[in-house]
């Protein structure tokens, strides 16, 4: 069974499900004869509750830090609040009833008042009032605190968890919190973030799940009950990956991409949109090695304006704060159809009318992108590269258009920065002329996915060919070698931005070849860094 709610903290937890044992708190309304004795009972219980809260404050301070502990100090103040105290005492005296009933009623009234407020934070405080009231009632009735009905770590399910309940829990027994109620601002949510465990709210779990196997996917807010073997395996793998990532992040963040013998290499990230920049920074990449500009065209119903493009490029350049951002110009074709381009259907789009071939014939579309790119270059460190190059004449033509664009900008008094120009090496033809190409550009970026498909004559989209597809084929490795050597001879630096760049079984091979830069998906940056730091090229 799968239940979807809202995630308050990401991560994966796998384990047995257990429902939190709340103590029974049924409060009865009982008439009392001696109301003043009942008021005294309340006052004594209130003091005991405050002593307990002071103890919880100390416990929380040690376990989860001051920010999380503060709630218990606030609870003590709430218990001393005159409105609260007067309300309780007034109910006891006016109705001649027991303290338990007076406290529970007052708690309900005040928590309803907060629950009705138009502010999420304040609505969250309704739980605090309930919590302190329950505590006093417990003291009055001598009830014991609830807990976890298990001796092994579990995914804890609860209707809702009050701060005093979560703090009393044995944290070593909790893999994840799952509640029916609660808010993303609740203490449970804050606690989950502090403990770095996944937590979900709004999950309406059935009551007969005690002891069953469960999976919490904190990334998409899902609880899976009684998962099948396959799902379980999938999540075990995901969990291991997450743990590995977390470990790497901690260890490798801020470290250099340097081999044991001191060779440094640039490690950048590939992105497909402005929103991916956060991932790039989180994973500590040194720059962006491939920014696919297609998203601007694919997400639009007409040619994206210069202004829209400029804004996107500028945002990324500024967010990367002086780190290199390599943007690839439009790479669409019949396989990535965009209606307004009106491209004819082709039998073999991979080898068809696409990328730079379109740009060199639809100059205005190309120029709009180039103007946006050069304008954005004023706001950061932008490099531009061109896809699907097969000949030197294409590069010369591109450079002429670039010069025109720069002149137009200068004439209009629009500022632009220094922009490195590079080409994608993704056709066998480009590899064979790298010596000549190197004289025309500042850098090469090897697109191993297309290079492999064109070199091995294997259509990437055809699953029937999977058995023939060998990404480590010696032909590919020799081509990379040749590209690096010719690039360096002509003064161009050489990077790899295809999937092969993240293949850590080849990292050493690439470094021995002299590859200057690897660009990989953000989530792979740290594992590649880890590989680099364990390589010794002197051996």
């Amino acid at each position: 069974m799968e239940l979807v709610g809202k995630s308050v903290f990401g991560g994966v937890a796998i384990g047995k499900l257990s429902i939190y044992q709340k103590q029974d708190n049924v409060v009865k309304r009982v008439k009392v004869d001696d109301v003043e004795a009942e008021v005294t009972r309340f006052q004594t219980a209130k003091e005991t509750a405050k002593t307990q809260l002071a103890g919880l404050y100390d416990k929380a301070l040690k376990e989860v830090g001051e920010a999380n502990a503060m709630v218990f100090e606030v609870h003590q103040m709430m218990l001393d609040d005159l409105d609260y105290v007067e309300s309780v005492e007034n109910i006891i005296r006016a109705q001649g009833v027991n303290a338990e009933y007076a406290v529970a009623t007052t708690g309900d009234n005040f928590s309803q008042m907060f629950a009705a407020m138009d502010d999420e934070y304040m609505r969250g405080r309704a739980a605090d009032i309930k919590d302190i009231s329950n505590r006093v009632v417990d003291v009055l009735s001598g009830a014991s605190a609830g807990g976890i009905n298990s001796t092994e770590p579990v995914i804890l399910l609860a209707e809702d968890l009050a701060p005093s309940e979560t703090v009393q829990l044995d944290k070593s027994l909790v893999l994840s919190f799952v509640t029916k109620l609660g808010s993303t601002n609740s203490h449970t949510a804050i606690l989950a973030r502090t403990m770095n465990i996944p937590a979900l709210i709004g999950i309406n779990y059935p009551e007969d799940v005690e002891g069953k196997m469960g999976i919490v996917d904190g990334f998409i807010g899902k609880l899976i009950i009684d998962p099948d073997e396959e799902t379980l395996k999938k999540y075990q793998k995901k969990k291991e990956e997450e743990e590995e990532k977390a470990r790497l992040l901690l260890e490798l963040k801020g470290k250099e991409n340097v081999t044991l013998d001191g060779t440094k290499v640039n490690l950048y990230a590939n992105i497909g949109g402005v929103g991916d920049v956060a991932d790039v920074l989180k994973n500590d990449a040194g720059g962006i090695g491939l920014f696919r500009s297609e998203f601007l065209y694919l997400e639009s119903s007409d040619y994206p304006s210069e202004e829209d493009q400029f804004k996107a490029y500028r945002t990324v350049a500024e967010n990367m704060a002086g780190k290199k951002v390599i943007i690839r110009t439009l790479d669409i074709g019949a396989d990535k159809q965009v209606d307004y381009f009106n491209l004819k259907k082709e039998d073999n789009p991979a080898m068809g009318y696409r990328a730079i071939r379109i740009c060199l014939e639809r100059i205005e579309v190309f120029k709009t992108q180039l103007r946006a790119l050069w304008r954005a270059s004023y706001y950061g460190k932008i490099s531009v590269m061109f896809p699907m190059i097969i000949s030197v004449s294409e590069v010369i033509k591109i450079k002429e258009i670039v010069e025109e664009v720069k002149k137009e900008l200068s004439d209009q008094g629009i500022p632009y920065g220094e922009v490195e120009i590079g080409v994608m090496i993704e056709t066998p033809a480009a590899v064979m002329i790298t010596e000549e190409l190197a004289k025309e550009v500042d850098f090469f970026s090897i697109g191993t996915n297309d290079l492999t498909q064109y070199t091995l004559a294997i259509d990437r989209q055809n699953p029937a060919l999977d058995n023939f597809y060998d990404s480590h084929h010696p032909a590919i490795l020799k081509m990379i070698q040749m590209t690096v050597e010719n690039g360096h001879k002509g003064g161009a630096w050489v990077g790899i931005c295809g999937e092969l760049g993240a293949d850590t079984t080849l990292t050493e091979t690439f470094l021995r070849m002299g590859v200057d830069e690897l660009s990989v998906s953000p989530s792979r940056v740290l594992s590649v860094r880890n590989a680099i730091r364990n390589i010794d090229l002197s051996k």
């Binding site: 503060m70 606030v74 103040m77 502010d119 934070y121 405080r125 009032i129």
Partner: protein
């Protein structure tokens, strides 16, 4: 009576913890003290009342002190608000 107005700058508004400290400060003076928003006044010495105003960032509150040590109370509370809220 001494009174002053203050505009909340804390992005979370008057949340529980500073409200608690404010109330404690207020309770240490003998004079009557109220906090008001949009014409609704509550006793500044009662945390639930102060929180029930639900004061958010950018909203203005009026603090009125009336009685013994009113000037001193106003000065102390204004300083606290500037520092914490």
């Amino acid at each position: 009576m001494t009174e002053f107005t203050y505009t909340i700058t804390d992005p979370q508004g008057v949340h529980a913890r500073p409200a608690g400290i404010f109330v404690k400060e207020a309770a240490s003076f003998p004079c009557n003290i109220t906090v008001g928003k949009d014409g609704k006044d509550v006793d500044a010495k009662r945390i639930l009342g102060v929180m029930s105003l639900g004061v958010k960032q950018g909203e203005e509150i009026v603090v009125k002190c009336d009685g013994d040590q009113e000037a001193e109370a106003a000065e102390k509370l204004e300083a606290f608000l500037k520092e914490n809220l």
